[in-house]
């Protein structure tokens, strides 16, 4: 019994530079699928192409060739209003440096995707409060980002990413700017929302600790997917050990 994947990536290539000048092939044919409700990680060192890959998947950049579908919809050639609507409704994005609007409160930041989709004003407040409660940030809703800690900001960003019930949540080194305690809290949060809301999560990271929270890890090196690790029934700390061992041999 096979379920339809929430995201498919077929033969993705990305080459930088114009024809004639020095060209650099960042992605050399990426293939994988993400099942609904899956928590998947993409690991690689700097320069491996993981950020390039993430940009393709999140519609922030276009591949040179290949196809990506999310919720059975091809996304690589979406443009204009279609693209904007897709971004607002189907995907959520959490950046390393938070990317909250400093001129708006936490509440307003979280409500932004709803406002943009012209959600009736009456429905906005309960939706924001619900997701804020789930992420444990109700007491900060009227604060501005510069009054919040890094961990709190990321949780606000997560709430904003989740408010429209997206098909998939993308994270680009979300713990990169956090201290270890906040990082752990955030990753626990991801696990919780993955299980409770059944939202698929794709995490891009170079940090083995973050990767250990995933159910499946794809290793990317020099623009290609190499190994794949499945957590299966392993405990998180055992899986973490396996990741570390793998990294050691992977680098060789």
């Amino acid at each position: 019994m096979t379920t339809t994947p929430i995201m498919t990536v077929s033969d993705l290539h990305k080459t930088y530079g114009k024809a004639g000048s020095k060209q650099y092939e960042a992605l050399k044919g990426i293939n994988f699928n993400v099942q609904p409700g899956e928590f998947i990680g993409i690991m690689g060192a700097s320069g491996s192409g993981k950020t390039t890959l993430l940009n393709m998947l999140a519609t922030l950049d276009q591949p040179t060739s290949g196809e990506v579908t999310i919720h059975q919809q091809p996304i690589t050639h979406l443009k204009g209003n279609q693209l904007a609507d897709f971004r607002a409704k189907e995907i959520g994005f959490i950046f390393q440096d938070f990317n909250l609007l400093e001129t708006m409160t936490a509440y307003e930041n979280i409500a932004l995707p709803l406002s943009l989709q012209n959600t009736p004003v009456k429905k906005i407040k309960p939706a924001v409060e619900k997701v804020a409660h789930q992420l444990g940030i109700e007491e900060f809703l009227s604060n501005y980002p510069n009054e919040l800690s890094g961990g709190q900001k990321q949780r606000v960003a997560a709430a904003r990413a989740l408010i429209n019930d997206p098909a998939i949540l993308f994270g680009d080194e979300p713990t990169g700017a956090l201290d270890s305690k906040s990082a752990r809290e955030l990753l626990d949060l991801f696990t919780k929302i993955n299980q409770e809301r059944a939202v698929s999560i794709l995490l891009v990271t170079h940090d083995p600790f973050s990767a250990s929270f995933c159910q499946r890890i794809l290793f990317i090196k020099d623009g290609r997917i190499g190994q794949e690790l499945k957590r299966g029934d392993l405990s998180r700390s055992d899986f973490y050990q396996q990741v570390l061992d793998n990294l050691g041999t992977f680098e060789q």
Binding site: G80, A88, T103, N118, N146
Partner: protein, 593 residues
């Protein structure tokens, strides 16, 4: 080596430098334009009959200097924030603080001097251009007007170089005293809009009282004389600043409570504004003042302009009167296609001029009877001989016959009585064209030909009156229109500069909005709305200032300064709208990719 690095930084940021330079050049150009009039004592004395004008201009200079001070303050902080990161980097790499200090001081001064010199040249060119357009299209005569006036250039140079020396020093201290790390991370962190209701209430009350005092003193210049202008200057500027400071911040925050704030990007726009306005209060106050000055100047200028033909027309029904016109002159008259022409024969002594009653019964003479001197309203009366003899306006006939200084009286005789007189018979030809101003060139030629002078005391009629009034009011009309245009240009460049200098900071915000899923239409809409509010707020305040400020001109204008104000207001609104459209286009190009 370091200088070379500094130069490459310059090339990278050419767009920012373009904004900076164009703002500074406009500012110094317009300051020069103003001073070209203000410092030219001969021009002021010869062109107005009002002794106050010189001092009014001095007040204006003070106001303009204050505006320049704030403007250069902004320009300087813009320059500094541009370069902070670069210079921080140099320090990190090991450049000496003293050398850095030297460089920034030099750069500030260089930017300043270059902008000022170019500005003075641009100002001169603009002065030539604008004055030519105004003189030709309005038919003005000016005395001692000089597009290049050295004291004005010197005043501009002194002020601007002085301010930039101070700015350079400030930048030097700022850079050398800040640790390198702080410079690298210098980023404008917006603060929560502080709402201290008690303080804001006081500001509002003081602001309103201040402005009320200003308005009152402008309306009562008769009592207060020059002091009134000084009081108005201080109180209105202060009041405007306090109002912007207090009311508009509160307004933006209050608007967020309404449900429309949660639709689309409205919440984002309101947030942008509530942070911006706090930052912008000084600039918005200045823009409001400049708006009022520009609109007021243009309204007054146009008011004077419309007065001139009215005052000419109320003087006499006929353009000119020629005694014993030659055939050539009659041909010149015919060429103007006059509405009416009439010829009357007369015989004159020193004190009396004898006409034939029958001629006036056949060709009635039209007189102008003034109904209301202040409104310049009148009736035209057609007179036969009997009526004309009794009319109190019959001096108008005499003016046509022997000039404005006519002292003789007219007498209308029967044909036989007239025939008995011994004096030689002469002919008086009078005529009216449809528009004195339209035919002014031909009328001028005719006057030169017949009277051998264009000195209006020597002949009478509408054209002579036009020359006199034009001479009196041309100067004021020119000043009004010229300054109006200059202030409008300065206002626009201030506002555009301030808005565009914030564009870079907005880039990453709009990128973020794009990632979260905003349509182009929503983004453009947000930009349009935000900038529209920044244009409209000072506009409204400026209009209110003008409506009250026109009170000041009651004492030097014959008609009410409010007559027909819809026209200059409309023109001004059109130009303001144009500036708005230009600003949003440039802003969009900088901020959206």
């Amino acid at each position: 080596m370091l200088t070379k690095l500094a130069m490459t930084g310059f090339k990278h940021r050419w767009r920012d430098y373009l904004v900076l330079f164009s703002g500074l050049i406009m500012s110094s150009a317009i300051f020069y334009m103003f001073e070209a009039l203000a410092t030219n004592q001969d021009f002021l004395k010869q062109n107005t009959s009002i002794s106050m004008v010189g001092l009014i201009f001095q007040f204006g200079s003070v106001l303009l200097t204050i505006i320049t001070l704030v403007y250069i303050g902004y320009a300087n902080s813009f320059l500094l924030s541009m370069r902070k990161r670069d210079y921080g980097l140099f320090m990190l790499v090991g450049a000496r603080k003293s050398k850095i200090g030297q460089l920034i001081w030099l750069e500030t001064l260089l930017v300043g001097i270059t902008a000022t010199i170019v500005g003075i040249l641009v100002g001169t060119a603009l002065t030539v251009g604008v004055s030519q357009i105004l003189i030709n299209s309005l038919g003005l005569t000016l005395h001692h007007f000089a597009a290049w006036y050295t004291p004005a250039a010197i005043a501009t140079l002194l002020l601007y170089v002085g301010l930039f020396l101070i700015a350079g020093l400030f930048n030097l201290l700022s850079l050398t005293k800040t640790p390198a790390l702080k410079l690298l991370h210098s980023n404008d962190q917006p603060n929560r809009p502080q709402l201290k209701p008690a303080r804001q209430l006081i500001e509002i009350v003081v602001g309103v009282i201040s402005i009320a005092i200003g308005y009152w003193s402008m309306a009562n210049l008769k009592i207060l004389q020059l002091m009134g202008i000084g009081i108005a200057l201080v109180t209105i500027v202060l009041g405007t600043y306090l109002l912007f400071n207090a009311i508009f911040v509160w307004l933006m925050v209050a608007l967020k409570r309404f449900s429309f704030a949660q639709r689309g990007l409205n919440g984002f726009t309101l947030s942008q504004l509530s942070f911006r306005i706090r930052n912008y209060t000084k600039m918005l106050s200045i823009v409001a003042m400049l708006f009022a000055l520009a609109l007021g100047a243009i309204t007054v200028g146009m008011g004077f302009h419309s007065q001139i033909p009215s005052m000419a027309n109320i003087n006499n029904a006929y353009d000119m009167g020629l005694v014993n016109a030659s055939t050539a002159e009659k041909a010149q008259i015919a060429a103007m296609k006059p509405k009416t022409t009439a010829t009357y024969h007369f015989k004159a002594t020193k004190k009396v001029v004898y006409f034939q009653a029958a001629e006036f019964n056949r060709q009635p003479f039209t007189t102008i009877h003034t109904r209301n001197k202040n409104q310049l309203t009148f009736n035209t009366v057609h007179n036969n001989a009997a009526k004309l003899q009794k009319s109190e306006d019959n001096y108008q006939l005499m003016q046509l016959q022997s000039g404005v200084m006519a002292t003789a009286t007219p007498v209308f005789l029967s044909k036989t009585a007239y025939a008995k007189l011994a004096q030689p018979e002469q002919r008086l030809t009078v005529f009216t064209t449809n528009n004195v101003i339209e035919h002014r060139v031909a009328l001028n030629k005719l006057a030169k030909h017949h009277f051998h002078t264009t000195s209006p005391e020597q002949f009478g009629g509408r054209y002579a009156m036009y020359l006199m009034v034009n001479g009196m009011y041309s100067g004021l009309e020119f000043m009004g229109m010229f300054l109006g245009i200059a202030f409008l240009a300065m206002l626009a460049s201030c506002l555009m500069f301030k808005i565009l200098s914030g564009a870079d900071a907005d880039q990453h915000r709009y990128k973020m909005l794009d990632k979260v899923g905003t349509t182009r239409r929503q983004l453009n809409g947000a930009i349009n709305k935000e900038i529209a509010v920044l244009f409209i707020l000072p506009g409204i305040v400026g209009i209110v200032h003008v409506l009250f400020g026109l009170q000041m001109f009651k004492i030097i204008m014959v008609t009410s300064p409010y007559t027909g104000i819809w026209l200059p207001f409309l023109i001004f609104a059109g130009l303001y709208l144009l500036y708005y459209l230009i600003t949003i286009t440039i802003y969009r190009r900088i901020v959206l990719q």
